[in-house]
Symmetry: C2
C-alpha cells in the first residue's frame, strides 16, 4: 500500500521507453485506480499507444477510474471505433454512459454503432448526468417473490456473473419492485424458505430524475449499500450503488468549497490557467460591482475622512472584522442547510442566535479596539466611535450571515453560491457607514 | 419517502401527550434514522420516558442514529444501568464504543459493568475515536482457506446472524488474514470449489491507528464496501464498513467548510450561542491582530490619504478584490491538497499557474477600474495608479493563495486552518501599500 508510488513511476517509465510488453504484463497486477494514475501521468500520445495494446478488460476499468480532468473519453475517441467499442463493452453500462456522455454526438455515435448491445447505454445516456438515472446501472439481480432461498441462489448464479451486487431485488412478473433482499439475509436463510417471507419492504426507492445529492443523502441516512431506481409505475429500472455515491459526495464537497471560495463550482481544480480564468473572472466582475458600492459609501463620507484622516486606518479593521464574523455565521448556516438540519419555520430562531453571537463577539472585539484607540492617544470619543462601529458591524454580520443563505434557499437558489459576496458587501457597507457616520456625529 | 414529515410530527405529538403504548406500536414501522429524528425533537425528560418503554432493539438503533449534538449518551446515562446495558447489548460493538466513549469514565463504567459481554467494547474504547480502530467493528465473518464454497456458506450461516457483512475474510488458524472473499463471488461460485481458489489477495488492509480520513480515501479510491483492519503481525482485528465512512466524509466536509469560513472545525453546527462564541471568538481575535497590521499600513501612508482623500474610496475596492482573488486560489489549492492531487515537487508549477491566473484577472479588472477613474474625472494618473494597484494585488493574491497552503502543508499544519486569515492579511497589506505607495510616487 505504502510502496505504491515507486511501482507507478516505474510503470510510467516503461511506457515512455516503449517497453509495452513488460508494461502490459505488470498492469495485470495493479488495481484499476492505480493503473488509471499511470495512464493519467502519460501524455496523450503515450496513453493512446498503451491503451491500444492493453487487454480491454484492463483498459476499460482504468479509463473509468481516471480523474475527470485527464479526459479519458478523448483517449477512447482517438482509437479505432472497433477497438473503442471492445473497451466500452467491458464497462458497466453506467460507467460507459458517463464516459461516452462527455463526447460530442458524432464521436459518441461512431463508437456506439460498433458496440454489440448498446441499448442499455443508450437508455442511460437519456438521463441527466447528475440524477439518479445518470448514476444508476441497469445491471441488477432480481428474483421472484415465490422462489425459495435455494431457488433464488440458483437463479442468481445464472444471472450475469459480472454484476456488482449487495442486495437482490424481488419483482413480480411485470417487473414491479415488491421487495428488497440483502444478500447476507439470503445467504444465512434456511434454503427452503420462500423469499417473500424474509424479504424487506422496498420502502426506500428513488425516481430516475432525483438529484444525485439527494440520492447520496438518502443512502448515507439509511446506511444503504444500494438503492433501487423505479419509474412512476413502480417498475425496477436499475440501482445506484454506494461506490457511485462516494464519488458524488467528493464532487459535491469540491463544489461547496469552491463556491465558498468565490469561484465557479464547475472549475476543474487541476485545470490549466485558461479554464481557471474563465471560471473565476465572472465572479470577480460581480465582486467588483459590489466593491464599487462599498467604495461609494466611503466616497459619500469623504468630507469626514478629510477632517479625521486617522479614520482611514480604522476602515479596514472595522470592515474586515465584519467580513470575518459574517463568513463564520455563513459557513455554519450554509452547512446546516446542506445537511438538511434546518426545518421550515426555524429561520427566525437561527437568525436570532447568529445576531446574539455576533453582538457578543462584537462587544468583545469592540472593547479591544476602544482600548487601542485610547492607547494610541486618539481620545475617548474615537474610542467610543470604534467600539460602537465594531459592535454594530458584527451584529449586522451575524444577521447577514444567517439571513442571506436562508433567503436564497427560500428562493431555491443554492445558498452556497454567491452568499459570501453578498455577506461581505453587507458588512463592508455597514462597517464604513457606521464608522464614518458615527465619526461625523461624535467627532466633528 | 416524501410523506415522512407528518408521520414524524404525529409521533412527537404522541410522546408529548404521553400516549406511549401507541408510540411504541408505531415505532416498529419506522427506519432507525427516522425514529432518531423523533427522539431528537423531544426534550430530555420526554426522551428518557420514551426510551424507558421502547424495546431495546428499537431504542438502541435510534440512539445510534441521533445527531451528535442531541447527546444520545446523556439519555443512556439517565437510565437505570441495567436498562442502559440492555440497550448497549443490542448495539454493534463499534456503535456502542462510539456512544459510551462520549461519557465520563464513571458513567461509562457504571453501564459497562452491567453489560454481559463487554470485552469487544472495552477493546474498541482503547483506540482513538478518529482512527481505523475507532471506526471498526470486531464483528466479522471469517472462513478458512481450505473450506469449499458450500462449507463456507454453511459456516457463515452458523456465525453471528447479526453481523453486517459485504465480504468475508479468509484466515489461517492463527487468524492471520490471507484473503478476501466478496460475498457475491461466494454465492455465484460452484459449491465444491475451495475458497482459496477464488478468494482475492488481501492487498488493501489498514492498521488500527490509521487516520479515519485516510481510511475513507482508500475505500473511495478502490470502491470497497468494507476494509479489513489488521495488527502489525497481520492478524485480523475487525473491519470498517462503507456506512461508517459516509459519516466520516460528512463530518470532514463540515470541518473543511467551517475552517474555510474562519471558525473552529469543532464547532457543532447546531450548538447554542455560548458554544458558538467559544468557537469563534479566538479566531476573531487572531483576525483582529492581522487587521491591525493592515490598519498600520494605512496609518503609515496617512499623509498621502490626507492629500488625495479620494484614495480612501479606492482602498476597499483594491483590497477587497485582492481578498476575493486570493480566496479563489486558496479554495482550489486547499481542495487539491485535501484530495491528494498535488505530488511533491509540483509546488512551483502550481504557484506559477496561480500567479498567471491572478495577473490575467488583475489586468482584466485593472482596465475596468482605470476606466472608472477616468469616467469619474479623477484624471489619467489616478487611472494608472488604480490599474497598477489592482493588477499587482491580484498577482500577489494568486501567489499567496497557492503559496500559503503549500507552506502550511509542508510544515504538516492542516492547510485549511487559518489559511484564509493569512491570505487576506497578505492582500490587504499589499493592496494598501500598492495603492497608497503608487499614489505617493505618481500623484504627488
Amino acid at each position: 500500500m505504502t510502496s505504491r508510488a515507486p511501482t507507478l513511476e516505474s510503470m510510467v517509465q516503461l511506457a515512455r521507453d516503449g517497453l509495452l510488453e513488460e508494461f502490459v504484463e505488470r498492469a495485470h497486477g495493479l488495481e484499476p485506480a492505480d493503473l488509471a494514475d499511470v495512464l493519467a501521468s502519460l501524455d496523450e500520445a503515450e496513453r493512446i499507444g498503451v491503451v491500444q495494446v492493453l487487454p480491454p478488460e484492463l483498459s476499460s476499468q482504468a479509463l473509468i477510474e481516471m480523474p475527470v480532468e485527464a479526459h479519458a473519453e478523448d483517449t477512447l475517441a482517438a482509437l479505432a471505433p472497433e477497438q473503442a467499442a471492445e473497451i466500452v463493452e467491458e464497462m458497466d453500462d453506467d460507467d460507459a454512459a458517463d464516459l461516452l456522455g462527455e463526447l460530442d454526438p458524432e464521436d459518441q455515435e461512431r463508437i456506439l454503432s460498433e458496440v454489440e448491445n448498446r441499448s442499455d447505454v443508450d437508455e442511460l445516456l437519456r438521463y441527466d448526468e447528475e440524477s439518479a438515472g445518470g448514476l444508476m446501472t441497469t445491471a441488477v439481480v432480481a428474483v421472484e417473490a415465490a422462489a425459495t432461498a435455494s431457488e433464488a441462489l440458483h437463479s442468481i448464479r445464472h444471472q450475469a456473473e459480472e454484476v456488482d451486487f449487495y442486495q437482490i431485488y424481488v419483482v413480480d412478473d411485470a417487473r414491479h419492485l415488491v421487495g428488497v433482499l440483502p444478500l447476507k439475509d439470503l445467504v444465512v436463510s434456511s434454503p427452503r424458505r420462500p423469499v417473500r417471507d424474509f424479504m424487506e419492504p422496498a420502502d426506500i426507492v428513488v425516481p430516475p430524475d432525483l438529484d444525485q445529492e439527494e440520492v447520496a443523502r438518502l443512502m448515507a441516512r439509511y446506511n444503504l449499500p444500494a438503492v433501487p431506481v423505479v419509474d412512476a409505475q413502480g417498475r425496477l429500472l436499475g440501482q445506484v450503488t454506494f461506490d457511485d455515491v462516494t464519488d458524488v459526495v467528493e464532487a459535491e464537497t469540491t463544489e461547496d468549497i469552491l463556491q465558498f471560495g468565490g469561484t465557479s463550482a464547475d472549475e476543474v481544480i487541476a485545470a490549466g490557467w485558461r479554464d481557471a480564468v474563465r471560471s473565476r473572472l465572472p465572479w470577480l466582475y460581480i465582486n467588483l460591482v459590489t466593491a464599487f458600492v462599498a467604495g461609494a459609501v466611503v466616497y459619500a463620507y469623504q468630507g469626514i475622512v478629510e477632517r479625521v484622516v486617522m479614520l482611514a486606518a480604522w476602515m479596514p479593521i472595522i470592515a474586515g472584522m465584519g467580513g470575518n464574523a459574517g463568513t463564520q455565521a455563513l459557513a455554519v448556516t450554509v452547512r446546516r442547510l446542506a445537511l438538511g438540519l434546518i426545518a421550515p419555520g426555524q429561520g427566525v430562531r437561527i437568525i436570532g442566535k447568529e445576531v446574539l453571537v455576533g453582538t457578543i463577539n462584537g462587544l468583545a472585539n469592540g472593547v479591544v479596539v476602544a482600548a487601542a484607540a485610547m492607547l494610541l492617544h486618539q481620545g475617548p470619543m474615537m474610542g467610543l466611535v470604534v467600539f460602537l462601529a465594531m459592535t454594530g458591524n458584527l451584529l449586522v454580520a451575524g444577521f447577514a450571515g444567517a439571513f442571506i443563505p436562508l433567503l436564497l434557499e427560500r428562493f431555491r437558489v443554492d445558498p452556497a453560491i454567491a452568499s459570501s459576496i453578498f455577506v461581505t458587501t453587507f458588512t463592508d457597507v455597514c462597517g464604513f457607514s457606521l464608522l464614518l457616520g458615527l465619526a461625523g456625529l461624535l467627532l466633528l
